[in-house]
């Protein structure tokens, strides 16, 4: 009996695989497209070499003063290097920098821990620590309460301030916005209207107006003689602003939890808070994670607006450096480029994480 053997596979035709068909399909599909491709390539050929030359090959890398920037055809990275401590830490005393680093490390450690730890440990240790972290950090950075050298908030600054302010605001905004979102879904008419007004107010007003409100109106609200720290007022404003946006994110999350989950919790006899915290909240956070990250990126970028009310975050440190009398050589391009790259790396990686979570959660079979 003759056994059936299939013929060997034929190789794919030459005009669909390989580099030349790819080029034909993707770069030169039509005459017009070919022209555009050539124009773009020509543009890159003329722009890239001088740009790279300015950025790297002719750039000035070593030195400590402006005089070290001898090659005028290249970027003066000496400016960035000389000011890098200021860019990242502001005017915080050099020997006390370990405090800032400790706070940032703690933040990273807690975030990692809450993903890696066992559920019980996470709920009992990581989450309370996470919620307390802003306050612990303030105690450490300020120093006067625990016997360290006192560092006034006027000296806090730089990129680490952007990071810490954004993180501290979102951490406090988590419980607050959750309450607002619950309020907006509540059956009680008065609680619902108060929540709607709060949320829409903080979403509808420019964040700059809120900062001005924080700096010119908040002092009027406190009893006479109380002097509230500028950074604290900024933190309050950022937290409320963030809560407005996050409340809407959470509301979307609540709506995405299937009704059966609520009904199942009710039929088990769970009370309102048990139902909300044990059944609904974990699902809401999971569903809303990409949007929470996107909102955080927005908040993080918006911390640069603090320049306008005179907080020494990274961009305003750069502005100060650019107008410093020892560095009046027109280094604005280098300075802004550096700040842009730092922010870009942070925001881009966060949006990558956000979209990877989104892809993991997305189980629809599109296309």
């Amino acid at each position: 009996m003759k056994e059936f053997t299939p013929l060997p596979d034929k190789p794919a035709p030459n005009d669909v695989v390989g580099i030349i068909p790819w080029l034909k399909d993707n770069l030169f599909p039509t005459p017009l497209n070919s022209l555009v491709t050539l124009a773009i390539i020509a543009f890159f050929v003329t722009v890239i070499p001088p740009l790279f030359d300015w950025l790297f090959f002719s750039a000035n890398w070593s030195g400590t003063t402006q005089a070290a920037c001898t090659n005028k055809d290249g970027a003066c990275w000496v400016f960035v290097i000389a000011w890098s401590k200021q860019f990242f830490y502001g005017s915080y005393p050099v020997e006390e920098l370990w405090r800032i680093n400790t706070c940032l490390l703690a933040l990273v450690a807690i975030i990692v821990a809450s993903f890696k730890l066992h559920k019980d440990l996470r709920n009992k240790i990581a989450i309370p620590l996470f919620l307390l972290l802003p306050f612990l950090s303030i105690i450490l950075l300020d120093g006067s309460l625990i016997g360290l050298e006192y560092v006034a908030t006027d000296y806090w600054g730089g990129f680490t301030l952007n990071v810490m302010l954004a993180a501290a605001s979102i951490i406090v905004a988590f419980p607050l916005s959750f309450l607002w979102a619950l309020g907006r879904r509540s059956d009680m008419p008065f609680i619902r209207s108060v929540s709607v007004i709060l949320i829409e107010f903080f979403r509808g007003v420019p964040v700059l107006a809120l900062f001005f409100m924080g700096s010119v109106m908040l002092p009027l609200f406190f009893p006479e003689g109380t002097n509230v720290d500028k950074l604290l007022r900024v933190w309050i404003v950022l937290t409320l602003f963030m809560s407005g946006y996050m409340a809407e994110v959470f509301r979307g999350g609540f709506q995405a939890v299937p009704n059966g989950q609520y009904e199942a919790a009710d039929s088990l006899g769970l009370g309102f808070w048990q139902k909300t915290l044990l059944i609904i909240l974990p699902q809401v956070i999971k569903i809303s994670m990409p949007n929470i990250l996107a909102t955080f990126v927005m908040l993080f970028k918006n911390t640069t607006f603090l320049l306008i009310i005179g907080i020494f975050e990274m961009l305003s440190t750069t502005q100060t450096a650019l107008t410093n009398s020892n560095w009046l050589g027109g280094h604005s391009t280098e300075g802004y480029l550096f700040v842009a790259v730092v922010f870009w790396i942070c925001c881009f990686s966060m949006s990558m994480i956000s979209s990877s979570i989104e892809r993991k959660l997305d189980t629809s079979h599109k296309n």
Partner: protein
């Protein structure tokens, strides 16, 4: 033993949801009343201690400061109320420019994402990912301090055909000066728009009734350009060009676009454009592929598939996103204050607040203005959204 436990027919007072919700709401109300009472008494005490006046009388006193750019006649002798209007108009100007340009850039880049050309696709992605992830304020500074400040001085201006000049002091465009009889042309333009509106309505009705199509787009184009052109010729061209010319150290005549406005409009356009491009991309991707396949199997041309199948469905995703992008553009235009473009925020919350010290009234008025602008945008976009929404049968 057989005694049954007594079951209450109604829950205790505190376990009754109605009573509970009343108690909670009353507690919130009491808390809020206490909070606002505290704030108001503190504020009044503080204002008295610092000698701050209250009320809106300051709007009618002389402002006494100049404003860099104004769309209406203004000088230092006008009142604070006038500064409010000047700032408001400047805000509306930059927001309108930003919204129009960002929409154009955003749609171009969003569509470029689906180009057949690999390079164009990658350029669109690079544009979106670069400008979305850099803080807007930094982009404003970059355009203002690093790009526009390095332009040549007035004498070495870059120029196009001796009509448009670009230098470190701004962009100079030729302007049109209307002479008597211009009203005739304006009427013709208004008439053209009205005619197009009614033509489109008539054509849609005819198509619904009889199935016959009417070339609305070409006819509209003809009306839009034809009517004003006829009016222009009939009235003997009542406009003259006003070209900018170098007189002394600066240009005079024409329309001047100050560098602050240019930097702000550029940054807002590029930044918001990236978000709109992302919205357009999301909208087009949200249309299931089966729709395109079904359209192809019906034998529609690729261009008709785009116009009749993809775009109407993508718009349902795009329009709500556009709504929030436009609103955030208006809110972001307050960053004008960082480079000194005289928008509402710079003029009113900046200078006027500094001079009068009436923080509460001024911040309140400004917030109210942004609220109203955003409500207007939201209203218009929601009307637009209703027109593109899926018509569901209930």
């Amino acid at each position: 033993m057989s005694e049954k436990p007594q079951v209450k027919s109604s829950p205790s007072f505190f376990n009754n949801p109605r009573n509970r919700s009343l108690i909670y709401q009353f507690l919130l109300l009491a808390g809020l009343v206490y909070f606002f009472y505290g704030i108001i008494t503190n504020t009044l005490a503080n204002m008295e201690a610092r000698g701050i006046k209250s009320g809106y009388d300051f709007l009618f006193t002389t402002a006494g400061f100049d404003i860099l750019m104004s769309l209406i006649p203004y000088d230092a002798t006008y009142s604070y109320g006038r500064t409010f209007i000047v700032g408001l108009l400047n805000t509306i100007l930059v927001s309108t420019i930003g919204i129009v340009l960002a929409t154009i850039v955003g749609f171009l880049m969003g569509v470029a994402h689906f180009s057949k050309n690999w390079l164009i696709r990658k350029l669109a992605v690079a544009y979106i990912e670069t400008f979305r992830n850099i803080p807007l304020l930094l982009q404003i500074f970059f355009w203002y301090f690093a790009v526009l400040a390095t332009l040549p001085s007035a004498r070495q201006s870059l120029s196009i055909g001796e009509a448009i000049f670009l230098n470190v002091r701004g962009l100079y465009l030729p302007g049109l000066i209307a002479e008597s009889g211009a009203g005739f042309v304006y009427t013709a333009i208004g008439l053209a728009f009205t005619a197009i509106f009614f033509l489109a309505r008539w054509a849609r009705k005819r198509q619904n009734d009889t199935g016959q199509q009417f070339p609305v787009f070409l006819t509209s184009l003809g009306i839009l350009f034809g009517l004003p052109l006829i009016a222009l010729l009939l009235s003997g061209i009542p406009f003259v060009w006003d070209f900018p010319a170098l007189k002394g150290f600066n240009f005079r005549g024409g329309i001047t676009v100050i560098p602050e406005l240019m930097a702000l409009a550029l940054a807002l356009t590029v930044y918001t454009g990236a978000f709109i491009a992302e919205a357009v991309r999301a909208g087009v991707q949200a249309v299931p592929h089966g729709q395109t396949e079904a359209a192809r199997s019906l034998g529609l041309k690729e261009s008709r598939i785009m116009k009749l199948i993809i775009v109407p469905q993508a718009m349902r995703v795009i329009v709500p996103l556009l709504n929030s992008e436009y609103q955030s553009l208006v809110k972001n235009s307050t960053l004008a204050t960082a480079i000194g473009y005289p928008d509402l925020f710079t003029v009113f919350v900046g200078t006027t607040l500094n001079q009068t010290g009436q923080a509460i009234e001024i911040v309140f008025m400004t917030m109210a203005v942004y609220f109203v602008i955003n409500m207007t945008i939201s209203f218009v976009m929601n009307r637009f959204n209703a027109s593109v929404e899926l018509a569901e049968r209930n």
